[in-house]
């Protein structure tokens, strides 16, 4: 057992951190708020291979494990890189998730092409769990299609449909970097994969989202600690005051517990663990949903009045944390799932 990042994984994390610092610094990311998804940058991101990590080598992917994907997504989450990142990686991996993915009835664009396009960044895909009634669809104006998961499988919905349905963009999306559009009802779509693939899809989606949340929790914590060292009141750095110092200690504590859960889930999904993957991912998503928002809120508090401004990034961490909480099942859903396991055990 060696439950620490190996050298390659550490190098991967550093590489992605450097990429984000160079090409997705917070100024650039913020500028993207006005024009939604920058397809040029998206393709650039795709070309670094981040969406091909878990795509099989035979299909031109990198053939890596979910552990590597999690290491990369942590950095993307931390840099607040916008866009349907998890959906892109999942779609590009679809050929590897299940052999039946291609065998199910389709017409028009087939899953192989969609997967290829997602890996290269030429096709942008959104992911959604089926829900009744009116709902908001992320990046509706920019995606080429949606993949909706439900108990029966995965369903493809073309961008054409979104246009025809008159999806109405919200003037003020909660997260300025995650534009959303209201649709009154989701269409059925064309089935592109069976139910067992849908289960794996949701599981891996929740895993990648937990990794993004880990990046947010850890980014918000570092940001608060940095500020606490430099902001002075009463003649000393505020981080010298116990109330602030102890808050920061609680933040890093949440981060480290979450990190253990996310890494454990990833290696378990990779088959390098002893537990059940669906349980491990549930654990990660539960902790991610509470830790990311809690750390982001704490960062707002440590920043005082500055924390409530548009200018300081603290609110961006918090808003993205709230967005991610709803992706691929929220904390409450998974908590209920674990409790039912306990109650029947």
């Amino acid at each position: 057992m060696d439950f620490e990042l190996n050298e390659d994984q550490e190098a991967l994390a550093e590489g992605v951190a450097a990429l984000c610092a160079g090409r997705f610094d917070i100024g650039t990311v913020r500028a993207m708020a006005s024009d939604g998804l920058d397809r040029g940058r998206w393709t650039e991101l795709a070309q670094t291979g981040v969406f091909s990590l878990t795509r099989p080598e035979a299909e031109g992917g990198l053939g890596m494990g979910w552990a590597e994907a999690v290491v990369v997504f942590e950095q993307l989450g931390r840099a607040l890189v916008p866009g349907p990142l998890a959906a892109a990686t999942l779609t590009a991996s679809l050929v590897g998730l299940s052999e039946t993915a291609t065998a199910v009835e389709t017409s028009g664009l087939d899953p192989v092409e969609i997967g290829e396009g997602a890996a290269e960044g030429s096709i942008v895909v959104g992911a959604l769990q089926r829900c009744g009634g009116p709902c908001f669809v992320e990046f509706a104006e920019w995606v080429d299609g949606l993949i909706i998961s439900d108990d029966e499988g995965l369903w493809w919905v073309d961008a054409e449909w979104l246009k025809a349905a008159d999806a109405a963009p919200a003037a003020h999306p909660l997260d300025p970097l995650t534009p959303v559009s209201a649709v009154s009802e989701l269409p059925q779509g064309r089935r592109i994969a069976d139910r067992s693939t849908a289960v794996v899809w949701r599981r891996c989606g929740a895993l990648l989202t937990s990794a993004l949340q880990l990046g947010i929790a850890s980014g918000a914590t570092d940001q608060a600690v940095e500020y606490a060292k430099q902001r002075e009141q009463f003649g000393k750095p505020i981080g010298a005051f116990q109330a602030v110092k102890h808050r920061c200690a609680d933040m890093i504590t949440r981060v480290e517990v979450l990190r253990a859960a996310v890494y454990a889930a990833a290696v378990t999904v990779d088959g390098k663990g002893v537990d059940d993957p669906s349980r491990s991912v549930a654990v990660a998503k539960i902790l991610a949903s509470s830790a990311a928002a809690a750390c982001a809120k704490d960062s707002v508090q440590v920043h005082g009045g500055m924390g409530y401004t548009w200018e300081v990034d603290a609110h961006l961490f918090l808003k993205r944390a709230w967005v991610h909480d709803l992706a691929f099942g929220d904390g409450d859903d998974y908590a209920d799932q674990l409790a039912r396991g306990l109650l029947s055990g």
Partner: protein, 396 residues
């Protein structure tokens, strides 16, 4: 990065499981009377002897000192399997096995090691820890129990408090003030004190649980031979810190496994008690709280494995241990809150489960109060994490 065990580790686990299956039926149930410490000592040391005879005593101690020389991962497996099998907890052997013993291994003279290490492993000697004083808890280095130099003896006068199992201990790892005129950390000495010396008086303290596992210890001109000093004169603080550096991330393994069992039992209770017209387990909010706690315990188990892996690589866990302790105490306190909510009026008596579950959730609820106090309070841990891990400035 992986969570797989090697073939050797799996073999170690299998062998241990087989042995536990044969050994445990002969151990018998633990004493039920919380106040009978002699019975507790007899039970715990008997188990230690059984471990010793099977070659499992001091799994993590180096082989040259009679241990098994196992890696941190094997120690993790040992603690996991013994707890899962329901084997006795380390109990009164805690200080000897996990604190005094390792200190002697690192710092003591060969004669001292010969005299003390084997009896600890065999369960012949029970040790206690005489560190805290009425005036010195979190600020341990301010301790004032005074030791005067008298030829080949130290003459010790003062008071210790919260000394767990002092009533049934044979030896005490004692911190004394040997020089009051230098900065506080530099005038402390570490001594081995036999508990049968004249001048030692022990008064049990009754805990909130109604038990008396710790005591006050009054020392009145106790003559301790200088050959019992470990490390140099005035060098005791360093010796104490060396001991803390021994932590390999394994400290709470038994607790985590026991907590998982406790939560599973609480889930059973929730299926038996009614809230309004339905069972507590039908309440979505109660279910979510159960699920969240289950997730937290699972994550803490993973964090343990991370700390153990780090120890295996670098030999240390550092502030990762403090992070763990903070999170664990917090989770356990929320588990207690949930137990309170589920039990309702069935929680008004300690140790009487009314056949709702197998475990004493009320007693455990009181026990969790110690988790934010003993071995460095949560406030002190937060300061350690803030300053050493995050590099925040000291408030001085």
């Amino acid at each position: 990065m992986d969570l797989c065990y090697t073939e050797d580790e799996e073999a170690f686990r299998d062998e241990l499981r087989t042995w536990l299956k044969g050994a445990l039926p002969n151990v018998g149930p633990p004493p039920t009377d919380h106040t009978d410490l002699e019975a507790r000592r007899a039970y715990d040391t008997r188990w230690q002897r059984i471990l010793y005879e099977a070659g499992y005593a001091g799994v993590h101690w180096p082989a040259e000192f009679g241990g098994r020389g196992s890696t941190p991962t094997e120690h993790l497996i040992f603690l996991e399997e013994t707890e899962r099998a329901g084997a006795p907890y380390v109990g009164v052997n805690f200080v000897g096995q996990l604190h005094a013993g390792p200190t002697l291994i690192a710092e003591a003279a060969p004669e001292q090691q010969r005299a003390h290490l084997a009896p600890i492993l065999r369960g012949d000697h029970v040790w206690c820890q005489g560190f805290s004083e009425p005036g010195s808890g979190s600020d341990l280095a301010s301790l004032t129990t005074r030791a005067f130099d008298d030829g080949d003896h130290y003459v010790v006068t003062g008071q210790k408090i919260w000394t767990s199992f002092a009533q049934v201990a044979d030896y005490c790892e004692l911190l004394v003030r040997t020089d009051p005129d230098v900065p506080k950390h530099r005038g402390i000495t570490w001594l081995i004190m036999p508990m049968d010396l004249p001048g030692i008086e022990i008064r049990p303290i009754v805990t909130a649980l109604g038990a008396s596992e710790f005591a006050e210890m009054f020392l009145d001109e106790v003559r301790i031979p200088k050959v019992n000093r470990v490390g140099g004169h005035n060098d005791g603080w360093r010796v104490t810190m060396v001991t803390f550096a021994f932590e390999r991330g394994t400290a709470f393994i038994s607790e985590i496994i026991a907590s998982q069992r406790l939560l599973a039992d609480l889930a059973k209770v929730a299926q038996k008690v009614t809230r309004g017209s339905a069972r507590a387990s039908d309440d979505a909010e109660i279910r979510r709280r159960l699920g969240r706690l289950e997730a937290e315990l699972d994550a803490l188990w993973s964090l343990t494995k991370r700390n153990v892996s780090q120890a295996q690589r670098t030999g240390m866990v550092g502030p990762g241990g403090s992070v763990f302790k903070l999170a664990y105490a917090d989770t356990r306190k929320r588990m207690s809150d949930l137990a309170e909510q589920i039990l309702g009026r069935a929680g008004l008596a300690i140790g009487d489960t009314l056949d709702l579950g197998e475990l004493d959730h009320v007693g455990e609820r009181l026990y969790t109060l110690t988790l934010t106090i003993a071995a460095g309070t949560s406030e002190i841990q937060r300061t350690i994490v803030g300053e050493r891990l995050l590099g925040l400035p000291k408030d001085r």
